[in-house]
Symmetry: C2
Subunit: 662 residues, 2 copies
């Protein structure tokens, strides 16, 4: 019996991938588009442009989400009464050098609207056009000459694409930069740039429009750049012993389509080619009220801004927006069982559309698992009562939803963590394995001479010398989250509970000071703008229409992660950019511009954009592969429950496996 459960469990956990595609006609309103829907969209759109099949490309296809009110009423119905809402797709195409925003109705199989985008900026870059662009140099005579001139073997040359940013130009074509690398003796291409060579490709023509071979610097050696285990030579180490996690009762969560329920949580896990994971309609079961209560309607990473801090010719433009330019979802990689995720993980596939509209399957895009980190949910030992000692301990179990997005050299490990205590944590672990290697190219060219020792560096190197001729360029990572909290309902207010020092001057107390809480409710968008770290304050989303029994505001609190404020000047171009068409955007579609309307936000259905940042000064430990650096923030209930929601959680069974054999 126990043995069979276990076998079943193991089967489930490591080799079974969950297929989220719903049975015909039974969609959750927020389910991402299915392969067959992508195919439908493609057919419908192509039909409306019969003569332009060849220069029509799909830059973005995603679910056009139904209005929140419709979704809410659907969610409020009992399961049998739930009818699938009209399925619509939002499509962004490039057609005759214009960006089209097209809405497709999948029930009527028709185009609902088709607008040419008139604003600045360009849509998401597709993997296909980047792949084609990367190949162009390899058949481009001037480039071949440059390679030959350097005495290199063309078959060992690999090129990659870099968005060009915006620096005040009034208009610029839809272009991308190409830099090339040498992979002889290493898979670590970023380590071996072909110094001084750069190309510009016109993405609508898919032709090389500019070519530069400015300088001639030897290609750095492959030595020390290898990271594959199979190619490493002894000594190995440090030795880490093996282990296995076993769940005799099986996993504690259920997956129905894209809806995941676990412990006291239920939520929807969506996927978008740009944003990656989307957490929706997260509700938590209130044991005391015997009902589920709303917490979070929708949350995702709206953008990730990575500006590099080298203003020189070959580097100044490197100010990447990884979500809007390269696509977090599109860059997701298949997760490795037993490595990216533990034994007890269940995997889920995802789908997106290629540039010709056909569906692409992402195997093991997500893993979902219960985390047993050996931490404590709550505990107390009571020794003050004579003649008795009380010890009550509850071990902690969390649910992790993980996706890894590899944007070129970067590996972003994106975790959403749900806690039985009501907290939702986002743990962003990023692992910028190789970018420092890219840093090498621009910097060496600028410096004119390669460095093997910091003593040789005159002036600012804009980074850290990590190895011979290898400078890791200073940079930032700013992750901006879209957080549509619905704290026990849609109408919420944003409150800053400021901690303010009070001095006792009237000798009423032996104390000279204390602090107390002075609350401030943001009435408008501008009042809600907050620079973190300036003053001690708790940031709370409250529901002003409901109170706890003692009369406190029902709320959820943002506990920020590492606070890093922007260091670029406010008028600098990369600092201004943003928006949906972010590639080369001019910043006329950003939070900064939209919030100028300064709308009233008290007791309204409001959304918080929270930015978490890291300033990154590379160090040698980051070479040639960087140990993960983690950051995160927490959404924590604050007078949301009447009392501790896990007071009556029974400790999970922890019995031993008395006998396990090979």
């Amino acid at each position: 019996m126990a043995s069979s459960t276990l076998m079943l469990f193991f089967f489930l956990s490591s080799f079974f991938t969950f297929s989220p595609i719903p049975c015909l006609g039974r969609y959750h309103p927020l389910d991402p588009l299915t392969p067959s829907e992508f195919t439908q969209v493609r057919t419908i759109v192509k039909k409306s442009y019969p003569n332009s099949i060849h220069n029509l490309t799909f830059q973005y296809i995603a679910l056009d989400e139904p209005d929140k009110s419709l979704v809410k009423s659907w969610l409020s119905k009992p399961n049998p009464k739930r009818k699938t809402l009209t399925r619509r797709a939002l499509v962004i195409t490039r057609l005759d050098k214009h960006s089209h925003e097209i809405v497709v109705d999948l029930s009527t199989r028709s185009v609902v609207s088709d607008k040419v985008y008139g604003g600045h900026g360009y849509p998401l870059l597709t993997l296909d056009e980047q792949a084609v662009a990367s190949e162009l140099p390899l058949s481009y005579k001037p480039f071949l000459d440059s390679v030959e001139k350097r005495g290199l073997n063309l078959s060992e040359v690999v090129c990659s694409t870099f968005s060009v940013g915006w620096f005040g130009e009034e208009h610029k074509k839809r272009v991308i930069k190409i830099l090339c690398y040498y992979i002889e003796g290493t898979p670590n291409l970023y380590m071996r740039p072909l110094e001084g060579i750069s190309l510009v490709v016109d993405l609508d023509e898919l032709k090389i429009s500019e070519y530069y071979d400015r300088d001639r610097i030897p290609v750095p050696k492959a030595q020390g750049t290898e990271y594959r285990l199979s190619k490493q030579k002894p000594p190995f180490g440090p030795k880490l012993n093996g282990f296995a996690i076993v769940q005799p009762e099986g996993p504690g969560f259920k997956i129905d389509g894209h809806t995941i329920s676990w412990a006291n949580w239920v939520f929807h896990l969506g996927f978008d080619v740009r944003a990656g994971p989307i957490i929706s309609s997260a509700s938590i079961y209130d044991l005391e009220k015997s009902t589920y209560r709303q917490v979070l309607y929708r949350a995702f990473i709206s953008e990730l801004f990575v500006p590099y801090m080298d203003p020189t010719e070959e580097w100044y433009y490197k100010t990447f927006f990884d979500a809007g330019e390269f696509g977090f979802g599109q860059s997701a990689v298949p997760l490795e069982p037993l490595a990216d995720c533990p034994e007890n993980a269940v995997f889920m596939d995802a789908y997106y559309a290629s540039s010709d509209g056909t569906p692409v399957k992402l195997s093991n895009a997500f893993c979902i698992f219960e985390q047993h980190a050996g931490s404590v949910l709550w505990r107390h030992t009571e020794t003050e009562i004579p003649g008795e000692v009380i010890t009550e301990v509850r071990p902690e179990v969390n649910l992790i939803v993980r996706m890894v997005s590899t944007v070129g050299n970067y590996d972003y490990i994106l975790d959403w963590e749900f806690k039985p205590s009501g907290s939702i944590k986002f743990g962003g672990t990023y692992d910028t394995n190789f970018f420092y290697m890219v840093g090498l190219s621009g910097l060496l060219e600028v410096k004119g001479a390669p460095y093997t020792n910091t003593g040789q560096i005159k002036g600012d190197a804009y980074g850290t010398l990590l190895a011979d001729y290898t400078i890791g360029v200073y940079h930032d990572h700013f992750l901006t989250y879209y957080l549509d909290l619905d704290v026990d309902g849609e109408a919420n207010s944003f409150v800053k509970n400021n901690l303010v020092t009070k001095r006792v001057t009237d000798h009423s107390s032996p104390r000279k000071s204390y602090w107390t809480v002075v609350s401030e409710t943001a009435k408008t968008e501008s009042e809600a703008k907050t620079q973190l770290g300036l003053k001690p304050s708790e940031l709370v989303f409250i529901n002003p229409n409901k109170k706890t029994k003692p009369g406190n505001n029902i709320g959820y609190r943002l506990i920020p992660g590492s606070i890093s404020n922007p260091l670029l000047s406010h008028d600098d171009y990369p600092q201004i950019r943003g928006g949906q068409f972010i590639d080369q955007s001019h910043g006329d579609d950003t939070l900064a511009t939209w919030s100028l309307r300064n709308r009233a936000i008290e007791n309204k259905d409001i959304v918080m954009w929270y930015t978490m940042g890291f300033h990154h000064v590379p160090c040698q430990e980051d070479f040639p592969v960087m140990p993960t650096l983690s950051g995160g923030f927490e959404l924590r209930p604050t007078n949301f429950f009447e009392s501790n929601p896990v007071l009556k959680a029974k400790p999970p069974k922890r019995e031993h496996l008395p006998n396990c054999t090979k």
Copy 2:
């Protein structure tokens, strides 16, 4: 075979407690005193005061650590050549109302020195004197009258002790305050204060010196305060499924006495009745240099300051120093296997001396285990090389050393975490289960009328109304760490790498700005004082006498945890206090006073004191027992290694257990 390993492992992990007592004469110089040594110390000291046995109490007995130079040379010797260094004890006694500082030599069995402490403040409170003091009210007529007056049952009354602080008095006797509680129908004593009653006990006389029955407020109900699983009524939840962690190869660490080696780390785990865990002589193995390199000579929590923010008569004095007044080590509680620590934990006992000098055993004071949280050490997926996809992932394994210290209502879960990547993290998880209940007493008395709803509160309640008549008082937690880093040797310097914005004004770049690093080496103690969060800066301990091959300073970096600066005014008494005799101290023995010498600290054997803080605004989820709130900081190698120290770590074996039966 595999099965027998497993059985052995299970035996080891959950039921075997490691005895750290060394074989005769084979002490590590930093090993804490053993039971027999405590007994020796007691005999030696008592012999020197033959006529005063009855009023001699031992407030503190600990190892008198040998000079660092001696310890270092001992450590540098090969094991067979290591002779035990002279063992000495530092003893603090109360004798005829004076505090004595006595040094005892255990080899010559003699008192080396005996000084009467002439400064302000008093030593650690012993558990014994607190226990006696707590019993005094129960046979004190006026108190019995007060209990009877309230119609309460004396057998259900429990009292507890509270340090009195210092508020500018020139001299005050060694006293402690007593507050009492009612435990009828609940073990949650802090929830049911006998409002308005407080006593003062003279600790040298162990007599009640003051008594107050100011007010008469009904004792709050027991309802809703129970936290024992056995007493809870359905419904239970949320349901958390069972699990087990299995290590077919057994644990990856070795324990020899108090020395623990794991992966690339080796360090010494000590214990002190005041500080609790002491991590010493932590070194990491450098695969490239094939040698162990020093990182940390000594680290522990030097103090924990918990000021409450209610200035009224019954509360103003509550400004506790949990290490120096109550003793983190003395307050350690036995860890529960399978609850406080997972299956794969090994436990270790600890010892301290009671107030009469006899040894007390703390069973399972520590647990040591490998943490498998399902996180990633490093990874990369490479898709840019045509025709090949590379994925390399290394799962993370960490080593956790845990102690739980319960200071009255508080449960502090103290974790030291070692990472193969070279980081040491301190994860302080605190779980202030019940203090809010204590908050009730003072506040209700002051307000004169009990609250059941926030609407009734006029003016400042100094806290949050958590339930009927129950206010959780605002407070802080400031943990100060003693961190004696020896980065690749003793002589280190403290460097602030400030991130500074540069504007591009000469049109040399399309960019308008970037940031770069401007380093600042602290020459003196005052230059090293740093308020965190004021400006972006990396805080690095470097070894100025050594450089990496590329010429970077070899260093370790402090990555701070949550930054909370003090909100009390700088001239307020609790803000001034500190030092070894901290109970009622006047602040003449603090970092602030010692650092006035402003010594030169460049290229010296320096120590960092780092303070991590939390401001705590209680919420209803904290009632009646609070879900853990965590904080921590990281010491991370920064150009300490030439390259990633875990590049060549093989992934741990993750094979499944094919067959497990009950």
